[in-house]
């Protein structure tokens, strides 16, 4: 299993610095790439998959520069873009057959792999359906299948659960967990719950910088004692929302029960266990991001 290394990656569009000296190493397992919209996630992914050049820095796979590896690099890459539509007039079977061709698989190998993948993503009964008739979840599963067809070492998923209902989202998460057994999965998202339970490491990125990179447990541990819960009367809700980093507001008979992240907001506030969502809020606000 080869490792993927990012060394001092920087990228800017005009005067806007999108990525600023990013360093990171990816090994086997799921990596959650978390960050608000506009944080630089998609740009970073575009650089990792070599469809965008970094202004400076290097991407190495198995110790070799991906630029040097050339098209061989793509043998080890599977990529699911954000909001894929694919070819709506193709059946799922035809679509995967096409992907097999552009990924350089032989006819025989492709047939076998396609059958396996349909079973794996549980679309074996819908493979003759047109892709245009697929639901969002089915399309994402087909997207996973196309990304896995060449049996890549690295699987990159860009916002894969956006727009999916909870059932499909859980189904998708389970699928990713199964895949991560022997692969590096980089999952870019701004939905914290997508990575909370499956990620080996969470990389928080904001304004083009990695603001933290650790296991979910350690990250949660790092903000323990910074999450508070307290009640406020109805008329104070607006003030509280603007004053504190609020992670949750719950209506109670006499007022609102709110959860905040940061310093103790008031005497009556009680310390409560943190979640990854609060970690996200805490670090993003600390790094100057908008919540």
């Amino acid at each position: 299993m080869s490792t993927l290394e990012l060394k001092s990656i920087s990228k800017s569009y005009g005067k806007k610095q999108v990525l600023d000296n990013l360093n990171c190493t990816f090994e086997k397992g799921v990596y959650g790439l978390l960050g608000p919209n506009g944080a630089g996630k998609t740009t970073l992914i575009s650089i990792i998959v070599n469809i965008l050049n970094a202004d400076s820095g290097e991407v190495l796979f198995g110790g070799k520069l991906v630029k040097v590896l050339g098209s061989d690099y793509y043998d080890d890459i599977g990529y699911l873009p954000q909001y894929p539509h694919f070819y709506s007039n193709y059946t799922a079977q035809e679509f995967l057959e096409y992907i097999a061709v552009i990924k350089g698989l032989s006819k025989k190998k492709a047939k076998q792999k396609i059958d396996e993948l349909f079973e794996f993503v549980n679309l074996q009964n819908d493979k003759k359906k047109k892709v245009g008739a697929y639901s969002g979840g089915m399309r994402q599963r087909l997207g996973i299948a196309q990304a896995l067809i060449n049996n890549p070492e690295i699987l990159i998923l860009d916002e894969p659960t956006a727009g999916l209902d909870p059932k499909e989202r859980i189904r998708f998460r389970n699928l990713i967990s199964r895949i991560s057994e022997d692969k590096t999965v980089i999952l870019a998202t701004h939905i914290v719950t997508d990575v909370e339970s499956i990620a080996r490491d969470v990389i928080l990125i904001n304004k083009g910088r990695i603001i933290c990179n650790d296991t979910p447990e350690n990250l949660i541990e790092s903000i323990n004692g910074k999450v508070w819960s307290f009640e406020i009367p109805h008329n104070e809700i607006e003030d509280s929302l603007s004053q504190f980093i609020v992670s949750n507001v719950q209506y109670s008979g006499d007022g609102f029960l709110i959860k905040t992240v940061g310093e103790k907001p008031c005497k009556s506030a009680q310390n409560v266990p943190a979640t990854l969502e609060e970690v996200y809020l805490c670090y993003v606000s600390e790094s100057g991001g908008e919540i």
């Binding site: 506009g38 740009t43 954000q82 894929p84 070819y87 709506s88 552009i102």
Partner: protein
Amino acid sequence: MRIVKCELKKIFKNRVIFIALAVFLLLNIINIYRNYNIHNGVDDCVVTGQLYLREQLDGELTEDKRALIYQQAEKVSGLLYNKKYANQTAPENDFITGYAFWDSQLWNTYRDYIDKAQSFNENIEQKSAEALKKAEYYSGKNEFYEAENKLYYNTYSGRKITGIYDTNGLPDYFRYSLSSVLSVIMLLLGVVPIFSSECECDMDTVLLTSKNGRRKTAFAKIISALIYSFAIELVFSICDFLSFMCFARLDGLGQSLYAVQGFGMCSADITVWQFCLILFAMRTIGMSVICLVFLLLSKLFRRSVAPFVTGACLFFSLMLIKTFFTDTSGEIINIFNPISLLVSFNYFCDFTAVNLFGTPVFSYVIVGSVGVVIVFILCVLIFSMPLKMQLRFPKLTFRRSVRL
């Protein structure tokens, strides 16, 4: 090859292509039927008579045929002075068409063919001799004029029309251009989505992250677009030919092109058959140029609507340029205009030589060669364009801005 097959499949997966093709072919056939049908505005008896005479007379002009045609033309025309035949209302078995008037028309047509052939044979020799004299005159004075006149002499001397054919339908067939317009619309429908639809359905990034999804796919797309263009041109050419054969009853395909009305001064010494093939080749080159221009537009835009509209406007502009730019500078511009290749029969009607570094070269050779060069340049340009163009030049390519 597998990628080319896949790319072709992508084009033909679009149902609109087949619907449009069926409608356009039907439209084309109806148009030929309505405008070039041999029966149009003519009594059936005349058509029957015409076809009978074709069968009897078309071919090598012998003395017997010549005598028969002159004799019959004179005889039947003479009958028209008789009141009985001048106002004939009922058909008679003595006449091929049943009527003296129509018989006289048919026989006179054939007599005209003989006269024209004779006059052509005499004139062309005279003109060739004049060209030779001019070449001698310009010798040492103007190299180009000398060479041009020698070329004229070499081209036309020794030409002789030895056969007679009913060639009335051929010029119409050569000039027919509706199918070219319909083919271009088919190109718009099939070629414009080739690159832009990949962006529309977010497949561009999947292709860029696939082993064969980059240059190999770009190359396959170019090849498949050219194959599609050739297929469309072939289908419409076959449709035109068969429709004209069927409705206009084309005849004399084996004779020299210069024997066809309007092509007497044709600069190529070829038969009608060969000319049909050359026209097809020229149209194919023209279609390939247009196809690659559409493909280039498809590469530049992220949504199919923009290249579709731009392509249609561009085609319309090229047609206007071809129609209205007819002066000397306009002719030079039109050498680079692919529409010239779609209506290339013009270049064969007369002796038109271009001064190419002091050497006279027939304009159809120049136009054809320029077309081939443009095809090659466009292929190289599209192939070598950055694969990630929309990411590098978001403003230039009118694509959506980069997601950050």
